[in-house]
């Protein structure tokens, strides 16, 4: 790991006369903290913690904010250990700085897990230095001093604000050993902290990518070809004559309409006609054929093998078999894709906009334009959702390529139709399960084959109950398509979790077992006598399962049909019980109980938002979402045909967290994978009809 942090910090400052602690939230070896002597520097703010003499505390949050709340959660941890009043903290978004940051990205629910220790250390180190500064001033032993809400308190009632100690503290050596607060003394961690951007959101401040305005900027929309098709020709003669149109250009099978305002571009675009080659492009029938072939092939990749599945199945008293299938779906964040790029004549590039992975954008654009990465600057905007879509920088590349062609700063805006029709979907997949049960109904053999289209390995071969079953075979087949795919909130597991948890419900039923007890029995087996590699902690699984059963009154609610599921992903554990009721002859999910173990909950308000949001997201997509394909073209492409869940379709949700004080793990994704399973199982309990395909309602 490179460590340029120290030299960087020395030349960085926020305010003249401020105390700045430079610490690194990203470097793997960056757990140390060093102090900065400050001089006025107008430029690049990346020291994360600064306290000016007035006592104002400024924290720079480097990770892209897509609604997961990281811009609030990170500073909460620092403020806790620093022991300051949250209202004195101001949080600002840092831009991309690859020299000093690593993991400046949003994905995989990994930010808090990665940075927890670094954040605490930064806060605790600064706090210790203020204590030392005060002790020196009062001529007392530092051990006799305490802190409270941004003040150091002396043994004889002395009191000094951190702000008043800045000058002295900034000259002290940085301590190497610090102690952290006892979690029972937490004032901010675990409490409800409001989002730091709430005020700008509720007053309509221009904080999103689509709101970006830069001097000389033009606006563009891009017509993209059907998947797999080649652009043969286009006719833009009419468009070019229309008011406000600057240019119409073509690159990489795309046609870009460039103009002065959004509406002028939209109007002109409607007059452009494109001709493509004809070919055997993807249709739904193509995908079905690939699934069938993938299920039959003897060339599947073995992902995991424990014992001898075939032999165990042959001696089973009962075999359960089922096929589950999910379609391609769109991410559809409320803010469609967009990006700003200015490829300048001096060889520098400014990129600005919503991306979950700014460093990848920088690299990709530098590579496209064949220039040094250092010449590409990336400004981060707030994102109107991402759900994984903004992990792919196709939108940034388009903007940069277009800017390089038209030699102007340009904001490329995707319409909803462009966004939904333009690819990088959740891959479609089909799963085939087999379970062999012995005479007592115990599963002795478990088989899964996942066939995905552009899904890579469509399975997660180490998923529970693997580890508890003697004979296991997990295989995957990947079919390659021109339809582009990418990670979608909880990649693969967003549907695999549903399929697995629904199948296990069938296994429990066939074996005459209670779905909760069956899992607890398996976990007892994992603890005493595990089979092969174990990637999860059985005790944490057991705890969420027991709590969910208890809090949901599992199978003790008359007239309520319940479905159970539990999932481990992104290092967190979530157990769910969904309640279904028959309303006017139709089964309806009325309530979901969710128990989560994500270790320490940093911000209870944000955590609840993530759990409830993920459940609503998982439920909405399980019920409604589907893209169809015809000759390389996806449909529907807007919300009139592609249904998102609405406020009158949601169940009540109780979200509970296991209070164990373990260091925090991911929360943006883990509650989604178990959702499809809990609701499918509840709907089965109500209707006795298994749901093998997403969406449940077409």
């Amino acid at each position: 790991m490179k460590s340029t942090r120290r030299s960087f910090i020395q030349k960085t400052a926020l305010f003249s006369g401020a105390f700045c602690l430079g610490f690194d939230w990203f470097q793997a070896n960056g757990k140390e903290v060093s102090m900065v002597q400050t001089t006025m520097d107008s430029g690049r703010f990346n020291a994360f913690l600064a306290i000016d003499p007035s006592g104002k505390i400024i924290l720079y949050s480097p990770n892209p904010e897509i609604g997961q709340g990281i811009k609030t959660a990170f500073p909460v941890v620092v403020a806790e250990e620093l022991d300051v009043d949250w209202k004195d903290v101001e949080v600002r978004q840092a831009n991309l700085d690859t020299q000093n940051f690593e993991r400046q990205l949003t994905g995989g629910s990994g930010a808090l897990k990665h940075s927890w220790e670094r954040l605490r250390k930064a806060g605790a180190t600064a706090r210790k230095m203020f204590i030392q500064a005060a002790a020196q001033t009062w001529n007392v032993d530092a051990s006799t001093c305490k802190t409270s809400k941004g003040f150091v308190l002396g043994p004889k009632g002395q009191k000094a604000s951190y702000g008043s100690l800045v000058a002295i503290a900034s000259k002290l050596p940085v301590p190497t050993e610090v102690t952290y607060k006892n979690r029972k003394d937490y004032q901010i961690i675990g409490k409800r902290t409001k989002g730091v951007d709430n005020k700008s959101v509720v007053t309509g401040k221009p904080v999103f990518g689509l709101d970006i305005e830069k001097p000389g900027m033009v606006i563009a929309q891009i017509i993209r070809p059907p998947f797999g098709a080649t652009l043969k020709s286009f006719d833009a003669a009419d468009a070019l004559k229309m008011p406000g149109i600057v240019d119409v250009v073509s690159f990489k099978n795309k046609v870009a309409i460039v103009g002065k305002s959004t509406w002028e571009v939209m109007k002109a675009r409607a007059t452009v006609s494109c001709k493509y080659d004809s070919g055997d492009f993807d249709s739904d029938s193509t995908h079905q054929k690939w699934f069938d072939e993938g299920m039959k092939t003897d060339k599947a990749t073995v992902q995991r093998k424990d014992g001898d599945f075939a032999a165990a199945l042959a001696r089973s008293a009962k075999v359960v078999e089922a096929t589950y299938e999910c379609p391609f779906i769109s991410h559809s964040p409320m803010e469609p894709m967009n990006f700003f790029a200015d490829v300048r004549s001096d060889g520098t590039v400014l990129l600005a906009g919503p991306t979950q992975v700014p460093q990848s954008a920088q690299k990709a654009v530098a590579s496209l334009l064949k220039i040094d990465e250092k010449k590409v600057e990336v400004e981060l905007s707030k994102m109107g959702g991402g759900f994984g879509r903004r992990l792919n920088n196709d939108f940034a590349l388009d903007a940069a390529e277009l800017s390089s062609i038209i030699k102007k700063p340009v904001k490329v805006m995707w319409t909803r139709e462009d966004d939904m029709g333009g690819g990088i979907y959740r891959p479609a997949a089909r799963y085939h399960f087999k379970a062999g049960l012995d005479a007592s109904g115990n599963m002795i053999a478990f088989y899964l084959r996942g066939v995905g289209i552009n899904a890579g390995n469509a399975t997660r071969q180490d998923n529970f109950p693997v580890g508890a079953i003697e004979n296991v075979l997990v295989e995957s087949v990947n079919q390659v398509s021109a339809v582009s795919t990418g990670p979608w909130r909880a990649p693969i597991t967003n549907f695999l979790g549903y399929a697995e948890q629904a199948f296990l419900d069938e296994v429990a039923e066939a074996g005459g077992k209670d779905p909760v007890q069956m899992r607890l029995d398996w976990l007892a087996r994992v603890k005493s006598n595990p089979v092969g590699k174990i990637t999860y902690e059985p005790d944490r699984f057991i705890e969420v399962i027991k709590q969910a059963a208890e809090k949901s009154n599992w199978k003790k609610k008359p007239g309520i049909h319940q479905g159970f599921s539990v999932y481990f992903s992104h290092l967190s554990y979530v157990a769910q019980v969904a309640d279904a009721q028959m309303v006017d002859g139709k089964a309806k999910i009325t309530h979901v109980t969710a128990v989560t173990d994500c270790g320490e909950v940093v911000n209870l308000s944000g955590a609840e938002n993530q759990i409830k949001g993920a459940i609503i997201d998982g439920m909405g997509h399980a019920l409604f979402a589907k893209l169809r394909f015809n000759d390389g073209v996806a449909s529907p492409t807007n919300f009139n045909g592609y249904r998102l869940i609405k406020g009158n379709e949601i169940p009540t949700i109780n979200a509970y967290f296991v209070d164990n004080g373990i260091e925090p793990t991911g929360l943006g994704e883990p509650a989604l994978p178990p959702t499809g399973g809990s609701i499918a199982n509840a709907l089965y309990a109500a209707t006795k009809k298994r749901l093998y395909k997403q969406p449940f309602e077409v």
């Binding site: 989002g195 959101v201 509720v202 309509g204 509406w263 964040p333 994102m383 993530q610 993920a614 406020g647």
Partner: protein, 164 residues
């Protein structure tokens, strides 16, 4: 031909294509970026503004149709960001990504103008035309209730003040 209208209490005169949707006139011609584009076909509600006090989808409304009208956008809902709905939205920490919230807030504030004390069903029905992809619906519904309580307290206070 220029079109006259009042936006957030300011008189404006625009010389643009009369078919321009109000949404794009606000965002591109008046630099009011708080009103959001989500679908362009009046399905999601992100573009909700008030036209003569009525919550309206601005993405399909040509500017010519609002000549001489009185428009209120999220930027003009209150002078200091302290409309009861805005206060409640912050208080209950409603936003996740925040993108749809301007439209949600304009819809909620309009609902409360008509029904200062809405029932749970009235809140759910009144807010269900606005999509939130992050799934903040529970808190949206709770915040509308809270906003109605804040507003009624404010009202009581000002009545007391006047009579005193």
């Amino acid at each position: 031909m220029s079109i006259q209208l009042t936006v957030n209490k300011k008189k404006m005169s625009l010389d643009i294509d009369p078919n321009t949707p109000l949404l794009w006139a606000l965002r591109d011609n008046m630099s009011l970026k708080g009103t959001k584009y989500g679908c362009g076909i009046a399905q999601c509600g992100a573009c909700t503004v008030w036209v003569n006090g009525e919550a309206t989808r601005s993405c399909v409304l040509p500017i010519s149709a609002v000549a001489n009208a009185d428009i209120t956008t999220i930027e003009g809902l209150s002078d200091h960001g302290d409309h009861p709905v805005q206060v409640a939205w912050d208080e209950l920490d409603v936003p996740q990504c925040g993108y749809c919230q301007a439209g949600q807030i304009m819809t909620a504030a309009s609902l409360l103008k008509k029904k200062p004390n809405p029932s749970k069903t009235e809140i759910v029905d009144g807010m269900s035309g606005n999509i939130c992809r992050c799934g903040t619906y529970h808190r949206i519904q709770e915040a509308v209730k809270l906003a109605s309580e804040i507003a009624s307290k404010k009202k009581t206070k000002s009545t007391v003040k006047k009579s005193a």
